[in-house]
């Protein structure tokens, strides 16, 4: 029985891959990632404001630029996941999908496809960013390859998880324009407003409030935190490190990076579980 189930899932997954590759959304979204790769060096200069000892050619600038671009690539990944899930509803192809595979299989297949495509966006950035971004400014020191790879791996994981969360949102909110606006709008603006409200009244000195301590556990912040943490910890900032990290990720009292990754994974898991329950009861009329 388990073998049959696995076979069926593989079949539905193959169908989802074919559906994805026969439209252009997946490769069109490489374009904003390319722009991010080109702009990465500019993004890195933000660290100079915070870390006076960093020079124009410091290796840390490239890491910071990559981290910044990675957090935005995760948004592109989330947008792809949302488009993937809502496209079937927009074009009414969901009927045929549900007639040839179970709803759970279709949802799981979309999660896998979105995770892989979003991870590819991040990989594309990790490979091209240092090359293009570095070339654009010229004369920059390449950071240690191990550090680059470590940051890249975290960024790819975060983008993949956001791809999955995008599928969950798109399954819950089937209106394509609405779901994409909700996902991207939340990540660009919404969560900053929520975090701002939670941190309101906290000074830069003294212990953060209970509410402010929630901020690292919001999904967008958790991803940002996971990406920024390796950069900040490798900058050798000493006691300033936490302050810089809090500023960059927009959080208070950040947990370790691996905890932040788990938090994002938990959000993705919860989102998919909710989407599975709601999706299973939905009438396709």
């Amino acid at each position: 029985m388990a073998a049959v189930t696995l076979d069926r899932f593989r079949a539905v997954l193959t169908a989802e891959v074919r559906r994805t590759l026969s439209t252009r959304v997946w490769w069109l979204l490489f374009l904003p990632v390319l722009v991010l790769a080109l702009a990465q060096s500019l993004l890195g200069s933000i660290l100079q404001l915070l870390v006076p000892q960093a020079t124009d050619t410091s290796a840390i600038l490239m890491l910071a630029g990559l981290a910044s671009a990675l957090t935005m690539t995760a948004i592109v990944g989330a947008a792809f996941g949302t488009l993937l899930a809502t496209g079937d509803f927009r074009h009414r192809t969901v009927t045929l999908a549900y007639l040839t595979g179970s709803r759970g299989q279709v949802l799981a297949a979309k999660c896998v496809v979105a995770a892989v495509v979003a991870a590819l966006y991040a990989l594309f950035l990790v490979v091209l960013g240092p090359l293009l971004g570095g070339a654009a400014l010229g004369g920059q020191q390449l950071p240690d390859l191990g550090r680059l790879a470590g940051l890249g791996a975290v960024g790819i994981l975060v983008a993949a998880l956001w791809g999955v969360l995008g599928v969950a949102v798109g399954t819950l909110v089937t209106n394509q324009a609405g779901a994409v606006a909700l996902t991207v709008g939340y990540l660009l603006i919404g969560e900053n407003l929520v975090a701002g409200a939670l941190r309101a009244g906290d000074g830069s000195l003294g212990d953060p409030s209970v509410f402010a301590r929630i901020t690292p556990f919001l999904p967008g912040n958790a991803g940002d935190l996971a990406v920024w943490e390796p950069v900040v910890s490798s900058a050798g900032l000493g006691p300033q490190a936490q302050f810089v990290l809090e500023f960059l990720a927009g959080v208070s009292a950040p947990p370790p990076g691996w905890v932040a990754l788990l938090v994002l994974a938990a959000w993705a898991g919860a989102g998919v579980a909710l989407a599975a329950v709601v999706g299973a009861r939905r009438d396709i009329t």
Partner: protein
């Protein structure tokens, strides 16, 4: 389109039966379908008739697991649709609002579905040829006519070589040639021991295609049986020209035949009896008969009479 001989004559295994038991669906305050029960047997085409908004589409979508029933259940091949391990190999469906991504080609659309069902790409070429879309296979579906979209939907439904076909108004958008082709296709499909449930408001077309009928109105079943049974109950009338229509009408009524209309001067239309019985009663009553003929009502007439009759109850 190819001729229908290309259908595999050997029916696939399985009961191939659709069983609907006390099915009901409520959308908010609207009761779309109420306590509907019927069975679709293999080997014949079952027509699913009803006026627009009578609940046909909702019922078909409940059978296919797309709409969750409020009450009752629908079994396909012995289990609810969602319990089928490989649904695409058991049921093929052509539904009214079944989309294709406008930028996807017909072939890409079918190849994705073929992968989900678990059949090879060679089968895609077979069904494309069967519905006559081979020449348009590499065109984007966004530029297809309604008729081409219907044929593409039928091709997708046939990919898994299913033992049950469910079609919602499949004639929409087809030209007369296409409708004639579809009719013979469905009949050959059913004749190979498989089941066909086809909804339509084109009653005349159903009369030519279906052997069994399920008629619903406002979400409730009005009739479930063969076309012949529907005829026997509601269809034929005997037109009789008699010397004394009033006396004949009395004699008929005395024998339990009360469905009598005076259609023109001296002519009675008698329902629920054949010419032999009317002739015998006329002889017994001493009424001369100048002519008799059996009027076979079209399905449309029967259908309207059926709905009107139920309404009066």
């Amino acid at each position: 389109m190819q001729d229908t001989a290309s259908i595999d004559p050997a029916a696939p295994p399985g009961t191939g039966r659709i069983v609907v038991e006390g099915l009901g669906k409520r959308f908010g305050p609207v009761e779309a379908v109420r306590d509907l029960s019927f069975t679709v047997e293999p080997g014949s085409v079952t027509g699913f008739l009803g006026p627009n908004g009578s609940g046909k589409t909702t019922t078909l979508r409940m059978i296919l697991g797309l709409v969750v029933p409020s009450t009752g259940r629908a079994l396909v091949d012995g289990v609810p649709f969602t319990g089928l391990v490989s649904p695409g190999r058991v049921v093929g469906a052509v539904l009214e609002v079944q989309g294709v991504h406008p930028r996807r080609t017909a072939r890409a659309h079918l190849r994705a579905a073929a992968a989900a069902i678990g059949v090879g790409d060679a089968r895609v070429e077979e069904v494309l040829a069967l519905v006559g879309l081979t020449g348009a296979a590499d065109r984007s579906a966004g530029g297809f006519s309604l008729g081409m979209n219907q044929r593409l939907a039928l091709a997708a439904a046939l990919l898994g070589d299913p033992r049950i076909l469910v079609l919602d108004e499949p004639g929409n958008g087809l030209d007369p040639d296409g409708i004639a082709w579809l009719r013979s296709f469905l009949q050959a499909f059913a004749a190979s021991g498989r089941s066909v449930l086809v909804s339509s408001h084109q009653l005349a077309e159903m009369e030519l295609t279906a052997q069994r009928l399920v008629v619903i109105d406002r979400g409730e079943c009005r009739f479930d049986g063969t076309v012949a049974e529907l005829r026997a109950g509601h269809g034929s009338r005997v037109l009789v020209r008699a010397s004394d229509p009033a006396r004949l009408a009395e004699a008929l009524a005395a024998d339990g035949l009360t469905e009598i209309d005076r259609v023109e001067d001296g002519v009675l239309a008698v329902g629920g009896a054949d010419a032999v019985r009317v002739g015998d009663l006329a002889l017994g009553a001493g009424v001369a008969v100048y002519g008799m003929s059996e009027e076979r009502a079209g399905l449309e007439q029967m259908f309207l009479r059926l709905l009107a009759g139920e309404e009066g109850r």
